[in-house]
């Protein structure tokens, strides 16, 4: 389980700089790729089984094969470094510590796609990383890996880094393209898909940082070698951003297939719960995916071990499972309040809704308002049902998946933690302080729900 692909060289002193990166075998995948047929590179990536690491898990090679190479219009590769899903901070780690790995991946991938002008779109708040990448790109130009006739191959590529202005929605690929065109980040109606009409109406592929940073290894080794790592259709290694109530938060690279139990409790990874407090819930893939209650974290509903794979994390559907999403692994102990946390997420989605579709624009606001009411002891039993019906009406009725992403956390919270909502409604005097469960964990007081009838 120890294979490292992305982090293999990250701890080498000075690896941030071009010289050290190159001395350690950097840019070798470009040398190899430039001698290959571009479509064969796409085939290798297809064989690897690499799935998009931005959240949706769509096969990367397949996406590349959709790019319109017939129209003759210029093509672009755009790297999605918007990373704004709460709980996710892995792309930042890669770009901060080994920026040339992403640049190398961008060159190799752009060559495969026949793109001559590519961009890295990074969230504006990561300004120091933006500057780091700018410097690294200058180094790559100076060393002849970018620009005209790269290493005598006849292939030209210009690569630039572009910064956003603070908007989660710009992580959605068509909003990202709008934003890169200097506009508001309103997602486009699909089709047409970016592979046909993307940046400036040209064929465009948008891929996550981690997806692109994996390509050099696949080209240097082989798609088949990559496909042997991991488990089943969850091939390769995956970065997880760990936060919340564990002993060792941070970014970890693991081979997919490890048990959730080992990842959470071994000293090599999360190191178990902070202060050894009881576990309450886990969000395995960023704020948009359903929270799992304690009894569904280490085992699936069928009693099988829950594994760190796309398939196992979603086993049971939304009734008893969740999703690997962006790999934002957020752990909650018994002091966390699910109602408050769900309100916190609804506030986020309300704030980040672009406002184009009424179910999302209005629904996120209503959910935030009702959750705030319940969290502050002014909610009613009907409010819980109202919340349920609002989230159900957003899901599937919007232009982009942000609407669904706003609905799912609310649905999962009610599905698995309805008793906490009821407690808030029935015992308003017990939840006045925002730290109510820090002072008195729900486990200690939930018997009150049985004893009293209203």
């Amino acid at each position: 389980m120890g294979q490292k692909i992305l982090f293999e060289k990250i701890h080498i002193p000075g690896i941030k700089t071009y010289d050290v990166y190159r001395e350690n075998g950097g840019y070798a995948s470009v040398e190899k790729a430039l001698k290959m047929n571009p479509d064969d590179i796409t085939e290798e990536v297809k064989t690897s089984g690499l799935r998009g690491r931005g959240g949706a898990g769509f096969p990367v090679g397949l996406k590349w094969s959709f790019i319109d190479k017939k129209s003759g219009n210029p093509r672009h590769l755009v790297c999605n470094a918007d990373e704004s899903e709460p709980g996710t901070f892995k792309d930042r780690y890669l770009m901060e510590y080994i920026p040339h790995l992403l640049i190398e991946g961008m060159i190799t991938s752009s060559f495969a796609l026949g793109a001559n002008l590519s961009y890295i779109y990074i969230r504006g708040e990561y300004m120091w990383v933006f500057k780091t990448l700018e410097r690294a790109i200058k180094e790559a130009y100076a060393a002849g890996w970018l620009g005209k006739n790269i290493k005598g191959s006849g292939y030209d590529l210009d690569l630039h880094v572009h910064c956003g202005g603070g908007a989660y929605i710009c992580g959605e690929e068509t909003a990202l393209i709008e934003s890169l065109e200097g506009k508001r980040g309103n997602p486009r109606i699909k089709p047409p898909f970016p592979a046909v009409k993307g940046l400036w109406q040209n064929p465009t592929v948008v891929n996550n940082v981690e997806s692109i940073a994996t390509v050099p290894w696949i080209i240097l080794n082989s798609g088949e070698d990559y496909s042997k790592i991991g488990l089943g259709r969850s091939t390769g290694t995956k970065l997880f951003s760990v936060s919340g109530h564990v002993k060792k938060p941070g970014v970890y690279e693991i081979e997919m297939g490890m048990t959730v139990d080992e990842f959470m409790n071994s000293d090599e990874y999360c190191g178990g719960m902070i202060d050894d407090r009881p576990l309450k819930g886990l969000i395995p893939g960023g704020s948009s995916v359903p929270i799992l209650p304690k009894h569904l974290i280490f085992k699936t509903a069928n009693g099988e071990d829950r594994l760190m794979t796309y398939e196992s994390l979603s086993d049971g559907g939304f009734a008893t499972g969740s999703s690997l999403g962006s790999g934002g692994f957020i752990v909650y102990n018994d002091t966390a309040c699910i109602v408050r946390n769900t309100w916190n997420f609804s506030r986020f989605y309300h704030h980040e809704s672009c406002g184009q579709c009424s179910p999302c624009r209005e629904g996120t606001g209503w959910m935030e308002k009702i959750l705030w009411r319940i969290e502050n002891g002014q909610g009613t039993e009907e409010d819980i049902d109202l919340l349920w019906s609002i989230q159900a009406k957003i899901e599937g009725n919007t232009i982009c998946p942000l609407g669904d992403a706003a609905a799912w956390p609310v649905a999962a919270a009610i599905r698995h933690f309805r008793d906490e909502f009821e407690y808030h409604v029935r015992f308003p005097e017990k939840i006045k302080n925002r730290d109510h469960f820090v002072n008195e964990p729900f486990e200690k007081v939930k018997h009150l729900l049985q004893n009293t009838t209203v």
Binding site: E83, S84, E85, P86, G87, T88, F89, D91, R92, L117, R123, G124, E125, Y126, M127, W128, K131, D158, H160, H162, C163, G164, G165, G166, A167, Y168, S179, L180, E181, G182, K183, R184, G185, W200, S241, V242, S243, G244, H245, P249, G250, V251, S287, G328, I330, Y332, T335, A336, R340, N341, N344, F345, F348, H351, E352, C354, R434
Partner: protein, 177 residues
């Protein structure tokens, strides 16, 4: 009159700033200079006390040869562009889940109290403002705040005290130039 004065901004596009803007514009194809809008607004804002007056937004439109409305609609969409003066040191606390369960709200309240401001307000000397923002991608290093181009992580009240002192003593670099 008071308000008019308060919202006045002296615009100064130095040759270096103009050169940097030209460099950014050169990253996009001929005729697609509007794409440079976000990076250019960041540069203009950084050079003008961290906010963008209408006059400065008009200037951006002029430089990029686009209409002013194209700039206004962008400035109002993205959270990082400030349409009013803010403190020289704007302390932006993440208040999203992973930070919230790590006492972000307590640290932010403490900071507000210490500086005598509410979220969104600027101290009388114009030095500080405090705001709550959404997840900044530092969830594993919570609680945290952003100040200029940099993050300050694993915050405690003591660290906030130190940071505020460093700001007052002009020891803090805001931008990575």
């Amino acid at each position: 009159m008071e308000t008019l004065k308060k919202y006045h901004q002296d615009i100064n596009i130095t040759p270096e700033l103009m050169q940097r803007i030209q460099e950014l514009v050169s990253h996009y194809p001929e005729g697609k200079q509007k794409s440079a809008l976000l990076p250019v607004l960041h540069e203009l804002q950084d050079a003008h006390d961290n906010w963008l007056s209408v006059e400065l937004q008009n200037k951006a439109a002029e430089i990029l040869n686009i209409t002013p409305i194209e700039v206004y609609e962008v400035v109002t969409f993205y959270t990082m562009f400030n349409q009013k003066p803010v403190g020289k040191y704007m302390l932006e606390f993440c208040v999203t889940s992973c930070c919230a369960i790590n006492k972000a709200e307590d640290v932010m309240d403490y900071t507000c109290e210490k500086l005598g401001v509410k979220p969104g307000q600027v101290t009388a000397d114009g030095l500080f403002s405090v705001v709550g923002v959404q997840c900044l991608g530092a969830c594993g290093y919570a609680p945290m705040l952003q100040l200029g181009d940099f993050y300050h992580e694993h915050l405690t009240k003591e660290k906030v005290d130190q940071l505020i002192n460093d700001c007052k003593e002009d020891k803090i670099t805001l931008h990575d130039k």
